[in-house]
Structure formats: structure tokens, C-alpha cells
């Protein structure tokens, strides 16, 4: 057993910032991460960090843009915290030496980004995330913060009271990938989940292989509601074989999308008669998929993004990076041939329900970063708003967990505020399959004192691992791939009732199959087979909650499109979707979006650019 004041799970942008903040407040912090910190997927972010740094700009404008971008489903207190604190956080990064791109006068550069009324996206070349991640890891090294790297956190050690709001989180249970040791990490101050995205729920994603949404699933099983899971951002230009992102810059410079018949479909098929290729991400993604579905896709899979007409000079000058990506990851030469692209999962707007301090409904449990949903993105995230979220809410969670006085939060968690039960009946059974198998363990433990809760949880994790290693059964890879296929088939950018229901059925089957999943590699050393098998469990839980939300929400808002009702329905749906695990019997409920900010109310308007 390891003991610290604050245990941070995950070492991406959010986790590192949280650890630094907690340490600043005097806490003894440890970071537990399944990847070495610099391997975290924050490193993949290219575009930049939104922050109102200039005199001509203001945080209020940033907040307004963000609320509008969210399609009015974000919570104003969280959005305002984000926009108010992002500037000082960005300057903090600068003071830590982050190599931002610079203006003539030596100040940090900013550029325009989609949906922003001011060029406020601060960047470091096309590798902002990489620079940010490394800069923060450097600070962690400087401070000597303990990092347990290549430790996979399996579950949380949470007490088992009836009402999640009464539960307490005492720590986590983790598996040392190098040695196979399973151990408890006790956190007297708090556990901060910062486990990042969940792209692996889909089979085509810009996310890393490690982005399996572990934190979300762990918190879910411990009783914390998952919020707005149905809102998934799909990026229209990703390479078909790997999902590597081809930046919006190509279209910005004048790149053109063609279908198999050589038509410039954005115009010729009337998807966006004004903006064409430069229409917003969801519009372009839907257009591409429509082309493929109607048989005009290339190899029935993708479309072409052509930039040859821009000329070699211009391409080399401004898009050189893209040439390398297409060449290295797709074997395509952007100078002489069009590049294949298709939509890919990119970002999860939803996640672990938190308030603006990063607190969840369970005492001592926090979440920050992409895994969390303080709700700053609502139904749609603006480009460049995720990185500031990491540092602002990472810091807030770190401070709070270390005991800093931060005042009463305005966003209620759990059912402490206004809420209503869902009126939706699922035809397929959801949640836990059959009796409580170790392979499908709940997060709770019956004991209440920290020591025994952790011990019980460690014991359970050991049994689970033993079971997986010793029994025979099927390989997790087929189950995961089945989940990814059905999710990408039906819960993609187009969603309609029959397909969603079918997926819920498929997920049920997958859950059944998971009951006899087994790990064929008996090794205790670096058993990735075992780790992936544990992750697949999380993928399953998340996929199900996501599909439930998508089925229930019968409107078109932000990234969520429903065939049955292709418009926004503010009358009925200005509310967050929440799914609670409820000891294995998922429950769907809603709470209203908070549109009243510090000094203004964000009235829903038509989202047009």
C-alpha cells in the first residue's frame, strides 16, 4: 500500500497541472499513470489554447463564444471560470518556459480559430499540445513529484453507502504493468481522475490506443453520474488507415473535397452552398458520410482531400507538416495525389459529472480534463478550448483536493439540485449482466474505513486478475472490435432510432461475451493482453451509457444529430443527460443546463456562423 495526500490518476495536461497545483498547496502528491507522462495524448494536440490575452479581447467575449459554440448546453459558471482563468494559466505556462510561437515584439502569437470572435488561440507551431505536456512534465520533475508510471489504475476504492452523495473515495487500486504487482494507493485528501479521452469506443479515432476512458468508467461504477455522453465530436479530415488528424488548415488554405465521381460535393450536392469545405466540422463530417453511404465514396470508405492546386511552394511553406503526415501514415504524396480522408471520432464533450471545482458527487473524488464534464463544451467543443480546460480545471481540482478554500460551487452535482427522471424506456436490458461476476465488479465496497475499503478493493482486483489469467475463454480483441464496429456503424455522426437500438443489443451481446473473456498470456511481466482486457470492460460500460444518451435525446444539438428530429429543441432539451450506474442497473436522468452567468444570462440563439 502506498500513501499520499493526493493521488492523481493520469499524467496528461490535466493530471500534471492538478499535481503541480496540489503540491503548491503543500500536499504530498503522487501521480499514477498507465503511460509515462510524456506519452499522454495531450501531446497530440496541434492547434492551440484559447485565452483572452489582448486588450482588445475579453474573457466575456470568450465565454460568449463558448456558450454559443456549445449550443447552449454548457454550464455558465464553468464556462466563465474557464475563460477568466485561461489567460493567467497560459501566462503561467509561458513563465514555465513553454516555447510558444512569437510575434515581432516578442509576445506570444495568437491565431484565429473556428467559432471565435477574436484571434485568441495561443499556439506553439503545430505542436501546442506536445509543448504544453513537456513543459508541465518539466515542472513535475523540478518539484520532485512522485510519479508511478506504467501503473494501470483498475478501480477506485469507494465506500458503499446507498446514496452516491454519501460515499467517500479513499484511494485507487493499481496494477504495476512492469512487475504485475497489484497495490492500493491511499489518498487521504482526494483522488483526481485525469484519464483523458475515450476514443477507443469507436474504431476510427484521432485518439490514442490508450484512450479507453478508464477514469470515466471507474467513476461510473463507483456511482458518479456520467454527463452528456452522447456528445462526441467527429473530425471530418482524418486519414482512413490510422485516424491521424489532417488539420483544418488544409481546407483553410483552399483544399477541396472530392467524391469518387470527381464532384466537389460540398457545393454540387448542396451541403454547404456558402462555406463549402469550410463549413463547421459536424456539417462536413455528415456530408462526407452521406457521399459514402450513397455510393459515391472511394473504395466505399472515404473521400479525397486535394491540395495539389495550391502549388508546391505554398504547400511547402504552410502545410509541410501535412505532407509528412500523409506520407508517413498513409503512404500518400500530397503534392502529386489527393489525400484520402474520412470522419473520425475526435473528442468527448461529456464525461464524469463535476462542478466547477472539479468535485464529483462522491466525497474525495475529483475529475479534470477530457474525462470530466464540468460542462464547458456542452453539445459541441470549440477548437482550442480543451487545452485551457486541462490547465484551468486541473489546477482547480488540485487546489481543492489539497484543501484550499475555494468557496461554494454553483453547479450542483448528483441529484442535489433540480433534476428529473428520464421518460425513456429501453427495450434492451442495460447494465450488469447476470450475477455479479468479478469480471464485472462494481466499484463499491461494503466497509467504510479507508484501510478496509482499500484492502477489499485490492483483494477483488487480485481475484479478478487471477481469474482472467487462469480461466480459458475468448480474447478481448474480438469483443472490443465488435463494440467499435457497432458504435461506428450506428452511433456515429448519423444517429437514428433503429440503429441505436441495434447497437444497444449488440452491446448487450458483447457484455455477455465479456463474461467469459480470458487472457492467454500467463506472464506477470508487461502483460498488455491483460491490460487491454481490463480496458475493454471500460470501453463496454462507456459505449453503453453513450448509446443510452443518444437514444434518449431526440433532437439535433451540436454534435448530436437525430434523424427523427433534425432541429434543436430548446423547449424540451435544454438539459444535461446523466446516466448513473446505480449498482449495475443504469438509470437515466436529466438536470437543467445553467445559462445564468456571473453578470449575464446566455440566451439561446441560432447557432450560425
Amino acid at each position: 500500500m502506498y500513501e499520499h495526500d493526493v493521488v492523481v490518476v493520469g499524467a496528461g495536461g490535466a493530471g500534471l497541472r492538478a499535481a503541480i497545483a496540489a503540491q503548491e498547496e503543500g500536499a504530498d502528491v503522487a501521480i499514477v499513470s498507465k503511460l509515462h507522462p510524456v506519452r499522454s495524448h495531450t501531446g497530440a494536440a496541434e492547434g492551440g489554447i484559447n485565452a483572452a490575452l489582448r486588450d482588445a479581447d475579453s474573457w466575456q467575449d470568450h465565454a460568449y463564444d463558448t456558450m454559443k459554440g456549445s449550443d447552449y448546453l454548457a454550464d455558465a459558471p464553468a464556462v466563465e471560470a474557464l475563460c477568466q482563468e485561461s489567460p493567467e494559466e497560459v501566462i503561467q505556462l509561458e513563465h514555465w518556459g513553454m516555447p510558444f510561437s512569437r510575434e515581432e515584439d516578442g509576445r506570444v502569437s495568437q491565431r484565429p480559430f473556428g467559432g471565435l470572435s477574436f484571434p485568441r488561440t495561443t499556439y506553439a507551431g503545430a505542436e501546442t499540445g506536445h509543448q504544453m505536456l513537456h513543459t508541465m512534465y518539466e515542472q513535475v520533475v523540478k518539484r520532485g513529484i512522485t510519479v508511478y508510471d506504467e501503473w494501470h489504475v483498475m478501480d477506485l476504492a469507494v465506500t458503499d453507502e446507498e446514496d452516491p452523495a454519501d460515499r467517500t473515495c479513499h484511494g485507487v487500486v493499481a496494477y504495476d504493468i512492469q512487475s504485475g504487482e497489484i497495490s492500493g494507493f491511499r489518498a487521504s485528501g482526494g483522488v483526481i481522475l485525469a484519464t483523458g479521452g475515450m476514443g477507443q469506443v469507436f474504431d476510427h479515432t484521432t485518439n490514442a490506443v490508450a484512450n479507453t476512458g478508464d477514469g470515466v468508467a471507474m467513476a461510473y461504477r463507483a456511482g458518479v453520474p456520467m454527463e452528456d455522453m452522447e456528445f462526441i465530436q467527429f473530425h471530418p479530415t482524418t486519414l482512413p488507415s490510422t485516424g491521424v488528424l489532417i488539420s483544418e488548415g488544409v481546407r483553410g488554405e483552399g483544399g477541396i473535397l472530392y467524391n469518387d465521381e470527381g464532384e466537389r460535393f460540398m457545393f454540387e450536392h448542396g451541403y454547404a452552398n456558402n462555406d463549402g469545405e469550410l463549413a463547421s466540422r459536424d456539417v462536413v463530417s455528415r456530408a462526407e458520410l452521406t457521399e459514402v453511404n450513397e455510393g459515391r465514396g472511394i473504395e466505399d470508405e472515404y473521400v479525397h482531400l486535394d491540395m495539389r492546386h495550391l502549388g508546391e511552394d505554398r504547400i511547402l511553406d504552410r502545410l509541410e507538416n501535412i505532407l509528412h503526415l500523409a506520407e508517413d501514415f498513409e503512404g500518400a504524396d500530397g503534392l502529386t495525389e489527393p489525400m484520402p480522408v474520412k470522419p473520425g471520432q475526435h473528442y468527448a464533450m461529456g464525461g464524469i459529472e463535476t462542478n466547477e471545482h472539479g468535485e464529483t458527487v462522491v466525497d474525495g473524488l475529483y475529475a479534470a480534463g477530457e474525462c470530466a464534464c464540468a460542462s464547458v463544451h456542452g453539445a459541441n467543443r470549440l477548437g482550442g478550448n480543451a487545452l485551457p480546460e486541462l490547465i484551468v480545471f486541473g489546477k482547480r481540482a488540485g487546489h481543492h483536493a489539497a484543501g484550499k478554500e475555494m468557496g461554494e460551487a454553483e453547479i450542483p452535482t448528483g441529484k442535489s439540485g433540480e433534476w428529473e427522471p428520464a421518460d425513456y424506456e429501453f427495450e434492451v436490458e442495460v447494465g450488469e449482466t447476470g450475477s455479479r461476476e468479478p469480471a464485472a465488479a462494481d466499484g463499491g465496497a461494503v466497509a467504510t474505513d479507508a484501510e478496509s475499503v482499500l484492502d477489499a478493493e485490492v483483494e477483488r482486483a487480485r481475484e479478478f486478475v487471477e481469474e482472467l489469467l487462469s480461466r480459458k475463454g475468448r480474447n478481448h480483441a474480438e469483443i472490443r472490435s465488435k463494440v467499435q464496429k457497432t458504435m461506428t456503424g450506428n452511433v456515429n455522426v448519423f444517429r437514428e432510432e433503429p440503429g441505436l437500438k441495434e447497437t444497444l443489443g449488440d452491446l448487450r451481446e458483447a457484455r455477455e461475451s465479456y463474461k467469459d473473456v480470458a487472457v492467454s498470456d500467463p506472464s506477470r511481466t508487461f502483460n498488455t493482453d491483460l491490460i487491454h482486457t481490463i480496458e475493454t470492460r471500460n470501453v463496454l460500460d462507456i459505449a453503453e451509457a453513450l448509446t443510452m444518451g443518444a437514444l434518449a435525446r431526440r433532437e439535433f444539438r451540436g454534435a448530436h444529430w437525430r434523424k427523427e428530429r433534425q432541429e434543436r429543441d430548446d423547449e424540451n432539451w435544454l438539459k444535461h443527460t446523466l446516466v448513473s450506474w446505480n449498482d449495475g442497473e443504469p438509470e437515466l436522468w436529466y438536470k437543467p443546463a445553467i445559462l445564468e452567468g456571473e453578470n449575464k444570462t446566455y440566451e439561446p440563439k441560432v447557432r450560425s456562423y
Partner: protein
């Protein structure tokens, strides 16, 4: 021909029989049974694979280094052969993932981002340090031989122990240090474009360890800081935002006994770096800085 059948099968069974005789526990029996089954499955798979290979011309032959200190039959390093159907744009990492998910789930390697930014999957491919996810299969000669990074301890299969590399990276005080952060709230430090341009390449390092693995000197002298760590020091030493006295300290660090003077300008680090960082150039520049600093006559 495939080497997927471990040559030690018989020997392994003998050892099992022995242990069984000594401690006839249920667990041992089960494990032995499991191993036998696994071997059988492996043989079956191999037969299937060979068939497939014969039927389909577009398969790639991978010869992958296997070793696991924990599993009988894998303790003696060997090479396994996998036949993977080729697809346009397939990278070495794709091929490995296919082999793992289709034939042998115990095939172990680090990977995450699949886009050359996390630095997890540097390995030794056909005799060169490569990032698997950034290496197109079509550009390699067959069979594609894949080994863990040389000059690092092998943990299992293609996974090596990176601890030493991390230690070296962290030994150069790899964090920004300055004494004069501007006072005003929201006041940033100024940096000229030229200066940012100067350090730009050095900030691209993804800690993959390819350079360190390729350097002969690092192989011979375990304490040599190595190209990546020196590059990290360069990144700060050349940043004008750090003051003069900090630079002095930095030069002392890189001038230590196992620092820059160890580098013999072999250039292999520069050749293998997947991020095209001109490592040798940076090391040489630091050497000149250090000499200037010591001799101070120009």
C-alpha cells in the same frame, strides 16, 4: 518456414513434469495444461497462417523478437514469424497490432498515439532504430525483422526498460529556470522570433530513445548523458529567457565528465531521430560554447 513453434517445447514439458512430481499442485497442473493448449493453438495458427500466406500473395513476413523472463518456453530469446496481409499505407505498428490481435495476443510492444508523438514505439526494424508507427511497411525489405532497441535491457518481447534513459533525461535539470519573471499580472517574458527559431527543433524531442540506442558511445559508456539529454540541455541553454548565470550552470552540467566531450560525432543519433532533430549539430554547438566559456579569449 515459421519459427512460431518454440524449439523448447519438449524441454519445457520435461520441466513441467518435474515440477509436477515435486509439488503436484492444482495450479501447476492447470498452468501446464494451459501451456500445452497454448502451444497447440500456436501450432494450429501457424499452419493456418502458412496456408494463408500461400494463398494470398500480399502478405508481409514479420520476424519478431520474442522473450519473456516469466514464461517457460520464452525465456530463451527467439524469433517468431508472422504473416500479415498487406494494406496500402500499412505501418510496422499496424502490422504488429494485426499480428497481436489475430495470432498471438501475448505479443508485447509499447504503443499509444499511432502518430509519432508519444514516442512509445521506437524499435529496431531491419537493423535501424525506427518509430514503428511512422515506418511504412512497403519501404522495407522482407522479411521485416523487428527487435527491441539495442543497448537497453529487454523487459519482454519488444519492450525495453526505459528507466535509464529517463534518468539521463532528468539529470540535466530539464526545466526552465530564470530569476527575472516579469512582475505585472499577465505580463509575459519576451522572446525574439529568432531565438524561438533557434530552440525550435530541440523542443520537438518525444523521448523515444532511438538516438540513445543508436549511439556507440552511449552503448560503451553507460553514464554518457547521450544525445537526447544533451539536446534537452541545449533547449534551455540556448533559450534567451534564461539568464546568464543559469547558462553557466547549464554549461557545467553538459561539460561534466560524461557530458558533451564523450560525443565522437558519429551522427547516428541524427540519422535515426524520427523528429529530424539535428542532434550532432546541437552537441557540437554546445562544445563550442563550452570552449568559449572556458577559454574566454574571444
Amino acid at each position: 518456414m515459421s519459427t512460431q513453434i518454440p524449439k523448447q517445447t519438449e524441454k519445457a514439458e520435461e520441466t513441467e513434469a518435474e515440477t509436477e512430481a515435486e509439488t503436484p499442485s492444482k495450479g501447476d497442473e492447470r498452468r501446464a495444461e494451459k501451456r500445452r493448449r497454448a502451444d497447440e493453438k500456436r501450432r494450429q495458427r501457424q499452419a493456418e497462417e502458412a496456408e494463408k500466406a500461400a494463398a494470398d500473395e500480399h502478405t508481409i513476413e514479420l520476424r519478431v523478437f520474442r522473450y519473456d523472463p516469466d514464461v517457460e518456453g520464452k525465456q530463451e530469446p527467439r524469433f517468431d514469424t508472422f504473416h500479415v496481409p498487406f494494406e496500402k499505407g500499412m505501418t510496422v505498428l499496424d502490422a504488429l497490432m494485426y499480428a497481436r490481435d489475430t495470432y498471438d495476443s501475448s505479443l508485447t510492444f509499447r504503443h499509444s498515439c499511432r502518430q509519432a508523438i508519444c514516442g512509445s514505439d521506437a524499435m529496431f526494424v531491419n537493423g535501424g532504430q525506427k518509430l514503428a508507427c511512422k515506418t511504412q511497411i512497403s519501404e522495407l525489405d522482407e522479411p521485416v525483422r523487428i527487435e527491441p532497441l539495442p543497448h537497453a535491457e529487454v523487459t519482454k518481447d519488444l519492450v525495453v526498460d526505459m528507466e535509464h534513459f529517463y534518468d539521463q533525461m532528468e539529470a540535466v535539470e530539464p526545466y526552465f529556470q530564470t530569476n527575472d519573471v516579469p512582475d505585472g499580472e499577465l505580463e509575459e517574458q519576451r522572446q525574439s522570433r529568432e531565438n524561438r527559431e533557434k530552440v525550435k527543433m530541440s523542443t520537438r524531442c518525444i523521448w523515444c530513445g532511438a538516438c540513445m540506442s543508436s549511439c556507440n558511445i552511449a552503448a560503451g559508456d553507460n553514464e554518457y548523458l547521450g544525445p537526447a539529454a544533451i539536446n534537452k540541455a541545449y533547449r534551455f541553454a540556448m533559450d534567451e529567457r534564461e539568464g546568464e548565470d543559469v547558462k553557466q550552470k547549464r554549461l557545467e552540467i553538459i561539460e561534466q565528465e560524461h557530458g558533451v566531450w564523450r560525443c565522437q560525432t558519429q551522427f547516428s543519433c541524427t540519422e535515426v531521430c524520427p523528429k529530424d532533430i539535428p542532434l550532432t549539430e546541437h552537441i557540437q554547438e554546445l562544445k563550442r560554447e563550452a570552449v568559449k566559456n572556458n577559454l574566454k579569449f574571444w
